[in-house]
Amino acid sequence: MMDSFWLRLDQGGRAALPAATVVIAALLGAMVWPLPHFGSVMPPLALMAVYYWSLHRPDLLGSGMVFLVGLLNDVIHRLPLGVSALLFVGAHQILFRQRRFFAGHSFFMMWLGFIITVSAVIIAEWVLLSVLNWHVVPVLPVLVQLLFAIAFFPLPCLLLMRLQRLTLNAES
């Protein structure tokens, strides 16, 4: 009886891992880093986590969770509520449908996928916010953040890969 309880707890914990990492990434994305001006070029960590799990374990990260994390991201960054949620759910869905193309080939293929995803999301976000603010949001900081996001991607990606190998693959 106890064994089955611990087993279920263990399995539940492992299954909750993608959702937990996405939430933690959203919080870490707003952290104060001991590097000057890093906050203004902070890569979108939440989007990276959503990207990774949408390709590798979409069964453990549903649209509902992605939507909630998007809302959390909006609240933390004081964006109009719903903007990140809309973009994250859209990206998650497209990635889920196209995952055979990007996942399981090579790391560079995955990186390329991320470059396309993050570019599309940031450009869409820029358009949405420009429309909602009713004036053009400056482009330069957006481009700088995009470049940082692309350059920074391998680090969180490798961490997530390691995490997945340690916990989720052992189960299956």
Partner: protein, 299 residues
């Protein structure tokens, strides 16, 4: 047999296609929900504001816990740097100290004179300022906004509209206040507008952020020519900010547009001081107080 009876059962006929539908098209519901929220944020911004403040208050302790080790590392790096530059810093401070002593004498004389003259004129003095210190737990920047979340809220006496400063100068304004956390929009943020005065010439302007590290001066008089390096201070117009808080210095203008180099190091803010202006006046915003008083009179 059991399988067959299940596959023909009504629940199976309805439930399975329903589940498939949800899996396949569930995202559409969430996208529609997100769109509805965006629209609601435009139509009823106050509802969304309230929900946002509560959520930030809820996640603030977690962010605080995440921020602590980083603050520690930042302090260690700063300490190490300070030790390295100890000798040269000491020399500089000695020189500064000698200069300060001269100033101190001058200030004492001027203060006395100022006090006497104010007495003569029955000048109404500014209300005293009170400060609330808070630690920064989140840098909510990114490509589209510039802001901070700090560890002081309603329970500490923080109110919307307070000026946020570091020791060096103004950095922003409090826009949301939860019970124990509040949000500061920096002067570099796209939506930040602050009335300022150029010290010396007395020109008035609005300091407008554009998400770049150097906000620009807007609504300067047409013929205004500013000297690069001139100090910029808050004007106190509008009654929201106390006057004469240092903001920064004028940097060179391109095409008639002047920018400001903020006095505070905006990239490295770990602690902020929230300035409570008009403390004795009761309610924070003098304009709001006036409107409130008038509406009471009418009743």
């Amino acid at each position: 047999m059991a399988v067959r009876s299940r596959s023909t059962g009504w629940s199976y006929v309805i439930a399975v296609p329903w589940r498939v539908m949800v899996l396949r098209y569930g995202f559409l519901i969430f996208m529609a929900l997100a769109l509805a929220l965006i629209i609601m944020g435009r139509v009823q911004p106050l509802w969304i504001e309230g929900a946002r403040t509560h959520t930030v208050d809820t996640v603030a302790p977690v962010m605080d816990a995440l921020a602590r080790p980083m603050t520690l590392i930042g302090n260690l790096v700063k300490d190490a740097h300070d030790y390295v530059s100890l000798r040269s810093e000491n020399e500089k401070l000695r020189a500064a100290n000698a200069q300060m002593k001269d100033w101190q004498n001058a200030v004492a004389t001027l203060q006395k004179e100022n006090h006497d003259l104010r007495d003569l004129l029955r000048f109404k003095t500014e209300p005293n300022l009170a400060y609330i210190s808070a630690r920064v737990i989140a840098d909510t920047g990114g490509a589209f906004a510039r802001g901070l979340i700090v560890t002081a809220g309603k329970l500490d006496g923080v109110r919307v509209g307070m000026a946020a400063t570091t020791g060096d100068g103004l950095i922003g304004r409090v826009v949301e206040v939860g019970d124990w956390s509040s949000r500061v929009v920096l002067i570099t943020d796209l939506n930040s507008r602050i009335p300022v005065t150029i010290a010396g010439s007395g020109e008035r302007a609005i300091l407008a952020g554009d998400n770049s590290p150097t906000p620009k001066l807007m609504f300067l008089p047409q013929d205004a020519v500013l000297n690069p390096g001139a100090a910029v201070v808050t004007s106190g117009h509008g009654g929201v900010f106390p006057p004469n808080l240092p903001v920064g210095t004028v940097s060179e203008g391109k095409g008639g547009i002047y920018n400001i180099a903020p006095a505070a190091d905006m990239g490295r803010v770990t602690y902020v001081r929230l300035v409570d202006f008009n403390l004795q006046g009761g309610a924070f915003n003098p304009l709001a107080t006036k409107i409130e008083a008038e509406s009471k009179n009418k009743k």
